[in-house]
């Protein structure tokens, strides 16, 4: 614990320290139990119970320490943590949170409800009580790939994970979707396969619909806060993650998600896509940055493919759900936009902001000037994280040749350019954050 307390966590974020405070409180409580057990006045039966409780608490504390793995500064760039925290705050997420990296291409938001069990302990140590009170529960942990696995622009997916933190605020209004096509498709599948619908089938359908809805909501939030950067990052993630069509009882298919996000980016006049194409010359297509995502086959082939990994019942529901998924997603995307407009309007990354950021920063970035701030006469505005990510993607996809960086002879010429771009964007994030912090000082 002493060593872990001495670790500098990325950006000096308080989240890991609060996590350690809870663990320290558990250990102090366990030590208190052991001291009580060693007291000659304690009955043997009580002493045994105290020792067992102390052992369980110690074991649980050890498990919780492992949850912190990857939260140190070696894996997550210092510079990115505070901007992420701004996203957390901007979306109205008040839970205590920490960030950690994993050595796999994985993004995940985990929730820990430790207060429910720890608040019921007998004789908690004062340090445990204080630690529990200092946390806004559930404690959240956002996992992202370690810096060895991704350039800065890929972190736009964090917007999706934070969407999971607010997904309960964005619901499917009753009666907003006509589920008749789903039922018809499911009935036909059951008839064709000689299966019998049961109550469990409908429970499974509810669960799958809820999971898919959460993914659509989170995609919508990612899109609203990060614009095209989210589209490119998600497509890139689908490519790295593999996983066939991406469809499962927990996730809608990758091809559909990509299509729905692009449709939203193409809406409006000018749309994000219009702006991006006008400035960079690149027309955003469904497979831009994700040419290898598997396209969905016909229902029968998909059903057979799903059955390899999932039950026939779940497979049938997933395939049938595709018949209403676009309707569901459309309603949820609209709801998400309404909620964010109401609660977090400053977080929305519209086409106008994209245009301003690309116009101001893209060409300078090719001249090794990071996107730090935008000057308009006397007015200076720090570049938001979303702006940095979008300028980064625009450079990565359309201007990489213009980035001046050379690697060793015979090496891949793009690698040093990508490294330089990552370095410039990270510097941009760091110094834009400094500008914001300075501007916020009274």
């Amino acid at each position: 614990m002493t060593r872990l307390r001495g670790v500098v966590y990325p950006g000096h974020h308080r989240g890991p320290e609060k996590w350690l405070d809870v663990i320290s409180g558990m250990l102090d409580t366990a030590l208190g139990y052991l001291a009580a057990a060693g007291n000659p006045a304690t009955l043997d039966a009580d002493a045994s119970k105290r020792i067992i409780d102390a052992e369980m608490l110690g074991s649980e504390a050890y498990k919780l320490l492992r949850e912190l793995d990857g939260a140190d500064a070696d894996q997550i760039p210092h510079q990115i943590v505070k901007p992420f925290q701004r996203w957390v705050d901007g979306l109205g997420i008040t839970n205590t949170i920490f960030f950690r990296a994993d050595h796999v291409a994985n993004y995940e938001l985990a929730r820990f409800y430790l207060d429910r069990s720890l608040n019921n302990l007998d004789d908690p140590a004062p340090s445990l009580t204080a630690a529990l009170q200092a946390v806004k529960w559930p404690f959240m942990r956002l996992t992202l790939p370690s810096q060895a696995l991704g350039m800065l622009p890929h972190f736009a997916i964090v917007g999706h994970e934070l969407g999971h933190a607010i997904q309960d605020k964005i619901q499917l209004p009753p009666g907003s979707v006509d589920f008749a096509p789903f039922h018809a498709a499911l009935d036909a599948r059951y008839a064709a396969e000689g299966m019998t619908k049961s109550r469990e089938t409908m429970f499974a359908a509810q669960a799958i619909l809820a999971s898919w809805a959460q993914e659509f909501v989170s995609d919508a939030v990612g899109l609203l806060v990060a614009g095209p950067a989210f589209f490119f990052a998600l497509g890139g993630f689908f490519e790295i993650a593999g996983g066939g069509y991406g469809i499962s009882p927990s996730h809608p298919p990758s091809e559909l998600r990509r299509k729905l996000i692009l449709a939203k980016l193409s809406a409006g006049s000018p749309s994000h896509c219009d702006v991006f194409e006008a400035i960079t010359g690149l027309k955003i297509e469904e497979d831009t940055n994700s040419p290898h995502v598997a396209l969905l086959p016909d229902d029968d082939t998909l059903f057979a493919s799903l059955k390899v990994k999932h039950s026939a019942e779940h497979s049938a529901v997933c395939v049938a759900m595709l018949h209403v998924a676009e309707q569901v997603a459309h309603v949820l995307f609209t709801e998400a936009e309404t909620v964010l407009n109401r609660d977090s309007a400053a977080m929305l990354y519209g086409a106008d902001r994209l245009e301003a950021d690309l116009n101001y920063h893209l060409k300078p970035l090719c001249e090794l000037i990071p996107p730090i701030e935008r000057r308009d006469g006397e007015r200076v505005e720090a570049t938001a994280l979303a702006g940095n990510l979008n300028v980064g993607w625009a450079a990565l996809l359309t201007k990489l040749d213009e980035i001046r960086a050379e690697g060793p002879p015979g090496g891949d010429p793009d690698t040093p350019k990508m490294e330089k771009l990552h370095e410039l964007l990270l510097k941009g994030v760091e110094l834009a954050e400094a500008r914001m912090t300075w501007d916020e000082c009274p």
């Binding site: 000096h12 500064a73 300078p364 001249e367 000037i369 730090i372 701030e373 400094a434």
Partner: protein
């Protein structure tokens, strides 16, 4: 070679063409950092610090054919990230390198700026003449 006046520096900072632009960013207090008649930009301490640590390594030969490896450098220095508003303590006889807060990029046609202090390379054990001040 002439030094740029403060007005000329301000003009170069506002240059529309990014190729020709002088970049010192972010300038948090432009009027305090570029004073009339100063012909210089005052910069601030940034977030990244390198603290020299005792080691068995001798001097580094700048002209050696063997490049100084990152391992050697990491043995010579411990890096510290200090966020804006936090403090770092410099103990007696301790030496540290610090980045500027500002990102600096000089366009073609301008030459470098160095503050009047022994440069960092001297502290790595270089045996060469100390570099003194330079001007734009």
């Amino acid at each position: 070679m002439t030094a740029l006046s403060s007005k000329a520096i301000i003009d170069r900072l506002a240059e529309k063409d990014p190729v020709k632009r002088l970049v010192v960013s972010p300038l948090l207090e432009p009027t305090a950092q570029i004073k009339p008649g100063q012909a210089a930009v005052d910069v601030r301490l940034g977030f990244d610090f390198c603290l020299a640590t005792p080691s068995r390594h001798g001097s580094i030969d700048e002209f050696s054919e063997e490049k100084t490896s990152l391992t050697t450098l990491s043995a010579l220095y411990r890096r510290e990230f200090i966020p804006l508003g936090r403090k770092i303590t410099i103990h007696p006889h301790q030496f540290l390198l610090a980045q500027t807060l500002e990102y600096l990029r000089l366009p073609p046609g301008l030459v470098t700026v160095l503050c009047r202090s022994p440069i960092s390379l001297c502290h790595l054990g270089f045996e060469r003449e100390r570099a003194d001040a330079a001007q734009i």
